[in-house]
């Protein structure tokens, strides 16, 4: 697989074209905006909590394929996770896109997220992949300031 193909894997292209949970939430417990001023990626993440568990997570906004697919895949996998689990995934996802772990050894654990392993070969794009995750983290921690990963 070429580096380009490993960056733009089918899962990423699919989630970019048909993002899941791509809608405004009516009464969220938290709503946080993430914005990268240099590339113009801008997303709002909405979270509804049931106690310590993420009951629902949706997003809206625009940006590149990597950031949009990242937000979409994240939203599908965090539903039903506890705050602590979501935070643990936040750390793991960072390790993945920074090339700090060998994805071949973690394919099963990472599932669809494994598709973001190719991002580590493109340092300029790491910030695109992690923007939705930082925004989500602020949302579940109820921090309201605008997030940026520039």
């Amino acid at each position: 697989m070429s580096e380009l193909q490993s960056l733009y894997q089918e899962i990423i292209l699919d989630h970019n074209k048909k993002p899941r949970n791509f809608k405004v939430m009516e009464f969220p417990d938290a709503k946080v905006e993430g914005y990268n001023p240099l590339c113009g990626d801008r997303y709002t993440i909405y979270v509804k909590m049931n106690g310590n568990v993420i009951d629902e997570i949706t997003f809206q906004g625009s940006g590149c394929a990597i950031s949009k697919a990242s937000a979409s895949v994240m939203s599908t996998m965090l539903k039903g996770k506890t705050r602590e689990e979501a935070e643990a995934w936040f750390e793991k996802f960072h390790q993945l896109v920074r090339g700090e772990l060998k994805i071949e050894d973690h394919l099963e654990e990472f599932g669809k997220l494994a598709a973001f392993g190719g991002v580590s070969e493109f340092p300029a794009r790491v910030k695109c992949a992690i923007l939705p995750w930082h925004t989500m983290k602020n949302a579940i921690e109820q921090k309201k300031e605008i997030v940026s990963t520039e």
């Binding site: 113009g40 625009s62 940006g63 300029a124």
Partner: protein
């Protein structure tokens, strides 16, 4: 000089423009990127440097390094001669009336800030207006906004049309007795539009309003004659015209510069200092505090000498042909829209591709060895005007070829392949 002598000297000076030999003078152009030959189309961000500029900077540090305007020793005199020699070359290049009108700065941004901080603070007050246009780079918006915030003046903006041209009737309507300065870009960095600045200057002058031209993108593509334009200020960045980064020029009319207070205080800009009073230096030094970017000036002087080898008409023609070729090739791509379709354009093509974000275009082109800029190009109001977050932008310089454009077009086809669009 008789006319015949002039023609002969010109013929000696001018060497025919041949892009293949030009390319050989820019060492970086033979580089490979991701295993592919480099196709450099990000010239509006910065241009590459010819060997003669690289040599001039290196020679300065190897053989001439010393502080200027200070020492009585050999090296200091040599460095001063080279440094001031650059001023003389720049003066001739832009056809200023005097070297006093050539202020050395850190770049076009610094030049505009200088005018806002000195001319602006002195002459623009509560109730006054600064008039800019809807296609300005942030560097010709923010300094004025800061000034207006400080002084209670208002920033007014001339709207632009769908094709990316200034709406002249609106410009005329917005010029009023409140307008204290007009600040306009010569060429838009995001759209490529060449503005009718001569006419706009005439219109402003008919109401006694001075005009600053942001020439960051104008000077790289056009032959500049400040006296013919009759502009009051003209801002230039060296690195966009084949010179070093961190160096630039503010041209200003002598009478305006004389009346302006200094910019920054420090060494070089003074004639005498006591704790009670400082007497400022004469032009242009009044605006040049501290040890300057000496190698920047010398390098930029070398860049101008490099350009002086050629006839500007030939460079402009070459870039116009590139622009025509690129516009035809790129606009033929399905799903692609060019942003900025003014009648008068410099070598800049901004575009968006249906369903593919410019950032993704940039990454895929980079893998093909093609360097372009993606993003808002420090012109967020322009992006807002077209309702888009960003564009992909290819911008040309004198060393680009039709093959570069073919590489760009093939790269865009690759983008479509990867994204199945």
């Amino acid at each position: 000089m008789t006319e015949l002598e002039f023609i002969l000297s010109k013929e000696q000076r001018v060497k025919p423009f041949d892009v293949e030999s030009v390319r050989k003078e820019f060492p970086i152009l033979s580089a490979r990127v991701h295993g592919k030959p480099l196709t450099y189309l990000d010239n509006a961000a910065t241009t590459q440097k010819p060997q003669s500029v690289i040599d001039a900077v290196q020679r300065y540090y190897k053989e001439e390094n010393s502080n200027v305007h200070r020492g009585v020793h050999y090296l200091s005199e040599l460095a001063t001669k080279k440094y001031e020699g650059a001023r003389s070359k720049i003066k001739k290049y832009v056809n200023a009336a005097s070297e006093k009108e050539i202020i050395f700065t850190r770049g076009a941004t610094d030049s505009i800030n200088l005018v806002a901080a000195t001319f602006g603070r002195k002459n623009i007050h509560a109730g006054d207006e600064v008039l800019i246009t809807g296609m300005e780079h942030h560097s010709n918006i923010v300094p004025w906004q800061m000034l207006c915030e400080e002084n209670g003046a208002a920033l007014r903006v001339v709207p632009i049309s769908d094709s990316g041209e200034i709406i002249l009737e609106e410009y005329v309507r917005l010029l009023s007795e409140k307008t204290k300065i007009v600040a306009i870009s010569h060429v838009s960095n995001a759209l490529g539009t060449i503005n009718p600045i001569k006419k706009m200057i005439e219109l402003a002058h008919s109401r006694m309003i001075p005009v600053l031209v942001d020439g960051a993108q104008g000077a790289p593509h056009l032959n500049i004659d400040v006296q013919e334009l009759d502009c009051d200020f003209y801002a230039i960045s060296s690195h966009k015209i084949y010179g070093p980064t961190g160096f630039g020029v503010l041209y200003g009319k002598e009478n305006l510069l004389e009346a302006m207070p200094p910019y920054q205080g420090g060494g070089d800009m003074i004639r005498s200092v006591t704790f009670e009073k400082t007497i400022f230096n004469d032009l242009p030094y009044k605006f040049e505090a501290g040890t300057p970017h000496i190698d920047g000036a010398i390098g930029f002087g070398a860049a101008i000498e490099y350009l002086n080898q050629y006839d500007w008409k030939e460079i402009e023609m070459h870039e116009q042909l590139l622009l025509q070729h690129a516009t035809a090739q790129i606009s033929a791509i399905d799903g692609l829209t060019i942003i900025g379709t003014a009648k008068e354009k410099a070598g800049v093509v901004s575009f968006v591709l249906e369903d593919v974000h410019p950032h993704d275009i940039g990454t895929i082109l980079d893998q093909e060895g093609v360097a372009i800029r993606t993003g808002h190009h420090c012109a967020q109001p322009v992006m807002d005007r077209y309702g888009i977050p960003a564009t992909a932008r290819a911008s040309f310089a004198l060393y680009n070829t039709n093959e570069d454009i073919d590489a760009l077009v093939n790269g865009i086809k690759k983008v479509k392949e990867v994204f199945h669009v």
